[in-house]
């Protein structure tokens, strides 16, 4: 008779539990032990860290952390939906809810934590939720379908994430935080203030320094509002509690295991509890350093420690880093190391720009060692700074917090990191281990780095040997700027010529792809006048290269209808023209919106309406606003000297001149500009690709700015320019950018990538160091001389107009699936939500 195998019972199949199983498998323990897993949830372990991405399209399968066939391959018995209810330590058995009794030799607790719900009246009413499991999300999603507002109790990391999710579900959302600032654990006061501004600018309402006293319910007993500790009452249909988590240690308490005063199953450095046969790992454990870690990286380390201990290997878990980066869309927040500067004698280096919501603080020891930091509004450097923690950075910390473009350029790249620097803290992977791999895929496979929170992926990319193939796509071995040069010097005017003559051998004679077609289309369009090609983007083969927006000279919106955007140069418009826009919108039933770019957008036009709409607009003197193309969008302006008492130059006239000069210019990315009449900057010129600010003696030109998710202030390129100097410099700047930028690379990233940065750009376009300027100017002169309005041309050509139908076999019929429903006296798309693979997208 053979001896029965020793048995391991794991309670809890969460992220850490699964990692423990993998650690056992890696060490060969699955072959020598019988393993049973009790799982409370109805599904095997999934990625809780990216739970919120479920709302943005990930499916339950995407989130799964259990490789297919893993349990079978390793002979692990997984019991779903059957939590452990009782541990008998004397008999060494675990009893589950279904009544089964499991004997064990080794018991591992990985029960995670549960969301803490403050004991306020009404907390259990329908409409109250927590945010921890896929089931919680499903319930919130279902409930939110018929409601309009939501509130999150708790403004910590998770609370903000939950609030972002509620907003994404279409609810007007507020956050109630007891502490005087958001994310009180991770960020300091300055960071909290910057964070608050950013969150508010996203349209969320934030209450700090107030508690929730009561959940108010309506007549039907469900949530209708909340009463706050400052006496006020706010309306809300739904409440998500995210006021912290508590370790799930009840099972252990009942079994008489030691627990901490404030909860958590007490373990030693080997993750053993007070009973040597029982381990506790992950969020349910109270580590030797007296902390309960609410993050996945320390949990993974505990899983490895417990697995090693089983084999008698020496490994200790004595504490971990608390670095975090918020994954909420659009808000960059990160904190790492000793963010609050608890170490004695530590010093702060702070950069704070309240206008743009950027706050950066580094904590350094008196001898210059980087101890930690907080980044709000711009966390780009997080991936690099975190591994530098504990060492003296190669450049002064002051330089590390300055935004790009201010002060001396900082040459801090991953090459400055020591070999032992931990790049991926989720999986504890060093620079050395990563440098041994050739591709990101290999890194992920061999080291797991990058497969956790993902915040290290950018730095990993920089550590890998530069990919040998810099080709644009599967069709071309060249970059965009190389293709630009080929087209320019060979005077090619056709995509097929380029593909068949210069494409990769396997792509020649083929159909190309959706990446290179529009790119080449744009290159040919921006060089067209110089090459002697037709500049009209819908001529012949060019038509097949354009993205749908360029093809229909309008912007496709989510239900397949289009928006129409007439150009309003500089934002100046006569009452008569305003009336025409209003009449057109009314007659075609279009939704109208005044945009941030000083335009009036008309939404909801079907393909077949476009020519009729444009016929009226062109008649009234309007031109295409190129809202669809990778082209110049708008030049915003303030009223300037003409009307404003502060203005020192005529900003309106300059904006109109610039907009008309560069209209229709095709570029690697859309371009925006603005002109302000004085340093008060009402037109926000410094957040534009090129921005102009009037001075008493001329114009200051700023370049490389952008708004959006990762805002960047533009850099000052030249000062006190005359009108002619200004225009000449912008001509050169734009053409140099169009010539050398990558596909979809905006001026801000291009400028940061450019070797030598701003100084180099200034050398090239101001001092003509490459002798290129005459050519750049002549390219622009060609563009200006050959500009024609695409819509005016289209309307004159019956052949081209034939394309503007919904159905080729029923030219008069509108598309019956493009439907609208009323909203605030206008229309919005009526679109059925589709179900794919069991999940709603």
């Amino acid at each position: 008779m053979t001896e029965p195998l020793p048995t391991i019972v794991l309670i809890g199949h969460g992220m850490v539990g699964q990692r423990y199983l993998e650690a056992l498998a890696e060490r060969g323990v699955t072959a020598t032990h019988r393993i049973t897993v009790l799982c409370e949830e109805p599904r095997p372990a999934y990625d809780r860290v990216h739970l919120t991405s479920y709302f943005s399209g990930s499916t339950a399968e995407d989130l799964s952390m259990t490789p297919a066939g893993f349990m079978e391959e390793h002979g692990i018995a997984l019991h779903l939906d059957d939590p452990a209810e009782h541990i008998d330590r004397a008999a060494r058995t675990v009893t589950s809810r279904s009544g089964q009794v499991f004997p064990y030799d080794v018991l591992v607790l990985a029960t995670g934590s549960y969301p803490f719900v403050p004991p306020v009246p009404g907390k259990d009413a329908p409409g109250c939720f927590v945010y921890r499991t896929i089931e919680d999300l499903l319930a919130i999603e279902e409930y939110a379908k018929t409601r309009t507002s939501g509130a999150v109790v708790g403004g910590g990391l998770l609370g903000l994430e939950a609030a972002g999710a509620l907003q994404g579900l279409g609810l007007t959302t507020r956050i109630v935080e007891f502490a005087p600032r958001l994310m009180p654990v991770q960020v300091d006061e300055g960071g909290g203030a910057a964070l608050l501004r950013t969150i508010e600018s996203m349209g969320l309402t934030v209450h700090t320094g107030v508690g929730t006293q009561e959940v108010v319910t309506g007549e039907d007993g469900s949530v209708s509002g909340m009463r706050l500790s400052d006496g006020s009452t706010v309306d809300t249909d739904l409440v998500v509690f995210s006021a912290g988590v508590r370790p799930r240690d009840q099972l252990a308490r009942d079994a008489g295991l030691d627990v901490g005063e404030r909860g958590g199953i007490a373990v030693d450095a080997r993750c053993r509890t007070s009973d040597p046969h029982v381990y506790a790992i992950g969020e349910c454990a109270l580590a030797v350093d007296g902390r309960v870690y609410g993050l996945v990286a320390p949990g993974y380390e505990m899983a490895e420690t417990a697995a090693d201990d089983l084999l008698g290997r020496e490994k200790e878990f004595t504490g971990a880093d608390l670095s975090t980066k918020l994954k909420l869309l659009g808000v960059d927040v990160a904190s790492f190391g000793d963010a609050h500067g608890h170490a004695p004698g530590s010093l702060d280096v702070v950069w704070s720009d309240s206008r743009s919501g950027v706050y950066k603080k580094l904590v350094v020891s008196p001898d210059g060692v980087l101890l930690g930091g907080v980044l709000v509004g711009d966390a780009d450097s997080y991936g690099l700074l975190r591994p530098l923690t504990g060492s003296v950075p190669p450049v002064a910390p002051e330089q590390l917090v300055l935004p790009a473009g201010v002060g001396a350029p900082v040459a801090l790249g991953p090459s400055s990191l020591p070999d032992h620097a931990v790049i991926c803290s989720c999986h504890n992977v060093t620079k050395k281990a990563i440098a041994a791999c050739a591709t990101l895929a290999e890194v992920k496979k061999c080291t797991k780095a990058g497969t956790g929170c993902g915040s290290c992926v950018k730095v990993i990319g920089q550590l890998l040997p530069a990919a040998a193939d810099k080709g644009l796509c599967g069709c071309f071995p060249y970059t965009r700027s190389e293709l630009y040069e080929i087209v320019r010097t060979r005077r090619l005017t056709s995509y097929e010529q380029l593909l068949d003559g210069h494409g990769r051998p396997e792509a020649r004679g083929g159909d190309g792809c959706e990446v290179c077609k529009p790119t080449v289309g744009s290159i040919i369009a921006s060089l067209a006048p110089t090459l002697g090609a037709s500049g009209y983007v819908l001529d012949g083969e060019q038509a097949a290269l354009q993205d749908t927006n360029d093809h229909f000279l309008a912007n496709m919106q989510r239900n397949g209808s289009y928006s129409v955007v007439p150009r309003i140069p500089g934002g100046e418009i006569t009452p008569d023209k305003l009336i025409v826009i209003g009449e057109v919108a009314r007659d075609f039933g279009l939704y109208t919106k005044i945009t941030g770019g000083q335009r009036i957008d008309l939404f909801g036009a079907s393909v077949d309406q476009l020519p009729r709409i444009w016929a009226r607009l062109v008649d009234a003197g309007f031109e295409s606003g190129h809202a669809y193309g990778k082209a110049l969008r708008t030049v915003k302006s303030c009223v300037g000297q003409t009307w404003c008492r502060y203005g020192v130059q005529d900003s309106v006239r300059m904006a109109i001149d610039l907009e008309l000069r560069y209209r229709g210019l095709r570029a690697p990315h859309k371009l925006k500009s603005a002109v302000s009449g004085c340093a008060r900057e009402c037109a926000e010129a410094q957040s534009k690709d090129f921005g102009v600010i009037a001075t008493a003696s001329g114009w200051n030109l700023y370049v490389g700015g952008n708004g959006g998710a990762t805002p960047r202030h533009a850099d000052l390129l030249a000062q006190d320019l005359s009108d002619a100097e200004l225009v000449r410099l912008i001509d050169r700047f734009l053409m140099f950018y169009i010539r050398t930028a990558d596909r979809l690379e905006r001026t801000s990233t291009w400028l940061e990538r450019l070797e030598g940065g701003l100084a180099h750009l200034r050398d090239v376009v101001v001092h003509d160091s490459l002798g290129l300027c005459a050519e750049l100017e002549s390219l622009m002169a060609d563009h200006v001389a050959h500009y024609r309005d695409e819509w005016a041309e289209t309307l004159q050509d019956p052949e081209r107009l034939r394309r503007f139908v919904s159905f080729v076999n029923a030219p008069g019929a509108p598309d019956p699936t493009v439907k609208f429903v009323p909203e605030r006296d206008q229309v919005k798309p009526d679109l059925a939500v589709l179900t794919i693979g069991g999940a709603v997208r």
Partner: protein, 110 residues
Amino acid sequence: MTVELQVAQGWLTVCELSSLIPGRGVAALLPDGSQAAVFVDRAGRPYAIGNQDPFTGAHVLSRGLVGAVAGRPFVASPLLKQRFDLESGRCLDDEEVAVRTYPVRTAATS
């Protein structure tokens, strides 16, 4: 030459082959009220798939850009850019998603 699509009632003439630009599509309204997206590749071969983009619900696939991987043509949805194989209807970016395909042929105009 005309392009014809097979539907329940038989072969339906959709349009002249010459009115299709290689690499671009058109939408056709079918007798049952559904919609097909019809394309022709550079070699002049026609393809037809359902017009509804399964990721957004909008009827827009006919307005995507045509390309090819390993010689197999696909269309990239103009909305969120997922690619669909024009021969099998399978989504190249998500194994579990596919759109329907229609038998299609070119016929000499009589």
